[in-house]
């Protein structure tokens, strides 16, 4: 039966995360952005909410409640608070979900318990390549068999590189198709260079270079499905894009109601009011596309088309909405005393991020 109401449990989670985003994340967002640094204490605090751990199997200390729908609901709320911080908080999913879904028992045992413990342990996934024609489904990075090892060569970008992580999952083309490999951060031949990006300033990301990086044959996540992974990444990002758009929309809506020009609030002008209406409509439309894609994941059905459309639409909507928000604020939209300029910079990244979070 077609229904648009999250379960009561999901509503409770959303409410909790929204409050966390509002009272804990948002107040730190601008400072984190300007400093280009994550507020570390906040990550521990967020970890206590168990947002990722809850989706990990009970056998590894998790809550065993994996749901892409819950995932997108949470992702939107966190990103509404701040995109960089949201990506950081959910980064454990980047390691957890591919391993949980397709890893060997040994891999699970090795990686999952660490993510459900008392301490925040970040995850990392390297899918995007620093190339004009980067294609997440067809990596240029290669994994070559050499005796009992895999040897990896190539480069990746937009890899979350938060202190405390020990491994990174890497997509690479092997002779039998593209696969996912678990690479220690300190592997020989792997170098990480800090990135300076237009947006997501507070999230430490790295451009990785792999030069004959040698890992054991057991390091491949054998059953991994790169196509599915990327689509789950896209849908998670789409939800975050909607979160960013909603934040920009709300700020510009409130500004428009307060700011007066020519004797009345600018929100009473149709040019502004209709712009806000369009923003609201597009945000809701994109969100519903995302929900459907997430629902398909949870049903175990093919979500290729739905995820592609949701990602494409949400990226576009986030950019348009953030740009419109800057415009509504006028001169104030252009200065860093207000958040929309950051939303605009963040929003522009979605078209390229591909798998910077997972649901």
């Amino acid at each position: 039966m077609i229904d648009f109401e999250p379960t009561e449990e999901q509503q409770l989670i959303v409410e909790t995360v929204r409050q966390f985003a509002e009272s804990e994340i948002r107040p730190l967002a601008r400072a984190a952005n300007e400093a280009g640094k994550l507020p570390d204490a906040l990550l521990s605090q967020a970890h206590e909410l168990g947002l990722v751990a809850n989706a990990i199997d009970e056998g590894f200390g998790g809550g065993g409640e994996r749901s892409a729908i819950t995932g997108v609901l949470v992702a939107e709320e966190l990103a509404w608070g701040d995109l960089s911080i949201a990506l950081a908080i959910l980064s454990p999913s980047l390691t957890a979900f591919p391993v949980q879904d397709h890893g060997s028992d040994a891999q699970k045992q090795d990686l999952l318990p660490g993510l459900t413990g008392g301490q925040f342990v970040p995850g990392a996934l390297a899918v995007v390549e620093p190339r004009f024609d980067s294609d997440p489904f067809r990596p240029s990075t290669t994994a070559r068999r050499d005796a009992d090892d895999w040897v990896i060569d190539g480069a990746k970008c937009f890899v979350p590189w938060i202190d405390g992580g020990a491994t990174v999952l890497v997509s690479a083309a092997a002779d039998d198709g593209a696969g996912i490999f678990v690479v220690p951060r300190n592997a020989k031949g792997l170098t990480a260079e800090s990135e300076q990006n237009m947006g997501i300033d507070a999230l430490p990301t790295a451009e990785l270079s792999f030069e004959a990086v040698r890992i054991p044959s057991s390091a491949r996540v054998e059953g991994a499905d790169l196509v599915g992974l990327v689509h789950r990444g896209r849908v998670g990002l789409a939800a975050m894009a909607v979160g960013v758009a909603r934040a920009a929309f709300e700020i510009s809506r409130d500004y428009a109601k307060e700011r007066e020009a020519f004797g009345s609030p600018i929100a009473t002008k149709q040019a502004i009011a209709f712009k806000l209406a369009d923003m609201a409509i597009e945000i809701d439309g994109a969100r519903l596309l995302i929900w459907e894609a997430a629902w398909l994941f949870d049903q175990g059905r093919d979500a290729t088309r739905a995820a592609t459309l949701a990602y494409q639409q949400a990226s576009k909507v986030a950019l348009d909405v953030a740009d419109a928000a800057v415009q509504v604020l006028g001169g104030h939209g252009y200065i860093r005393d207000y958040l929309p300029e950051m939303h605009l910079r963040n929003a522009r990244g979605f078209a390229s991020f591909e798998a910077l979070t997972l649901v």
Partner: protein, 407 residues
């Protein structure tokens, strides 16, 4: 409850039923009635009356997907032909007004012929006047009580199915008129005028860009007398609170938009899907696959167009279903209904225009149907509140502004 996109079996049944009807009964005569404007589509009217109206779409009050099923019906039939959909013998908006604001007796009296075994009948709603447009409060038509009768005078335009509803016995037109011009909006009431009532005259039929098989009538009311009991709602004029929208009659009539806008949005989605389906078929026929995992740098321009059309269309559809679902659950949905209507009207206008471009020279010809769908689609950006009126409604709601604060 839980988020779900799995249609109930009854919705799936409805979709199949109406899709079959669209394919078999509508598409074959679609071009014919586009070319023969104002001709009466006898075969379609008969077919709908005989088979369509008893199909699995009509009654949505029960379980399952509720009002979403009505939207699915509208989408399927408008995938067939939006104009013929509008020409179906149903109580339409007039029926919704009676259902929303009428007494039990009125419902029984006016709606019964639509269930009965008699000949086909139509309902219609007459609101717009030559000088009023979207401004319902500016209505000039008058109703005066004379003994036990209301006497209506005025001129109504853009009355969908106005010809059928006013000319075929058993049908009726719900007419909006003021009983006290000085009272503004509070004085506006709606009245049921049965087909054939003396004084209700069919003045003309519009020649239109599209939906040519749908009759859009100009009706003149000249000392048109109807029984006192044909007033929907109360005759009381609440003068003292100009901000209130008046009584159940007016409110009920306005509330019909909360139901009709999702339907109109679903109609738009149907026309849009007709174009999109056809574009994809043609592309496939010419060996152009639409790839969902093509590298960004290799994507074809027309491929991207199709992806964007799909996303826009489906976003419009889901917004529509959401508004419908809220209606099923008795939740206020004015905001969401206007969101769906605004989005669908615009998205489908663009989708159908793009479809003609994508398919190249042959698509500009009447040999293909896409040019018709482009013409038909545009009505969805206009009727039941233009794009702009719906943006205004959305804006007021999200800003929490009254209609006097945001005009």
């Amino acid at each position: 409850m839980a988020i779900s996109f799995e249609p109930a079996q009854s919705t799936i049944d409805a979709r199949e039923f109406y899709h079959k009807m669209a394919v078999e009964q509508m598409r074959p005569i679609s071009r014919k009635y586009d070319l023969e404007e104002h001709a009466f589509p006898q075969e379609w009217v008969d077919s709908y009356w005989k088979h369509g109206r008893s199909g699995p779409g009509g009654d949505w009050s029960g379980a399952n997907d509720g009002f979403v099923r009505v939207c699915v019906q509208a989408e399927e039939l408008c995938w067939g032909d939006a104009a013929l959909y509008l020409r179906m013998p149903t109580a339409a908006l007039g029926g919704s007004a009676v259902a929303a604001a009428g007494t039990q007796e009125q419902k029984q009296k006016f709606l019964a012929p639509f269930q009965g075994d008699g000949p086909p009948v139509w309902g219609a709603m007459a609101i717009t006047e030559p000088q009023a447009g979207s401004d319902a409060a500016a209505i000039q038509a008058t109703a005066e009580l004379d003994g036990d009768e209301w006497v209506l005078n005025g001129n109504k335009i853009f009355c969908t199915s106005g010809e059928s509803a006013s000319q075929h016995e058993g049908g009726f037109v719900v007419v909006w008129a003021t009983i006290d011009r000085k009272a503004g909006r509070a004085g506006i009431k709606s009245f049921v005028v049965p087909a054939g009532t003396p004084g209700m005259k069919l003045i003309g039929l519009e020649k239109k860009l599209g939906i040519r098989a749908s009759d859009t009538a100009t009706l003149l009311f000249e000392d048109c007398r109807i029984p006192r009991s044909n007033l929907l709602g109360s005759a009381e004029v609440k003068k003292h609170d100009p901000k209130r929208s008046g009584d159940k009659g007016f409110k009920g009539a306005m509330a019909t938009f909360d139901a009709s806008r999702p339907i109109v949005a679903a109609m738009a989605v149907g026309v849009g899907r007709a174009s999109l389906d056809f574009v994809k078929e043609e592309l496939a026929r010419h060996g152009y696959e639409v790839r969902y995992m093509a590298p960004r740098t290799e994507l074809r321009s027309i491929e991207r167009d199709v992806l964007e059309m799909e996303a826009e269309l489906h976003a419009a559809r889901l917004l529509t279903w959401r508004a419908a679902s809220m209606m099923t659950h008795g939740k206020p949905n004015s905001l969401e209904a206007s969101m769906a209507k605004a989005k669908a009207g615009l998205a489908v206008t663009r989708i159908t225009q793009k479809a003609v471009e994508i398919l190249g020279p042959p698509a500009y010809s009447k040999k293909m149907m896409v040019e018709k769908w482009m013409r038909d689609a545009k009505i969805n950006d206009i009727f039941e509140g233009t794009q702009q009126i719906n943006q205004l409604i959305v804006a007021r709601r999200i800003l929490n502004y009254s209609s006097s604060m945001l005009r």
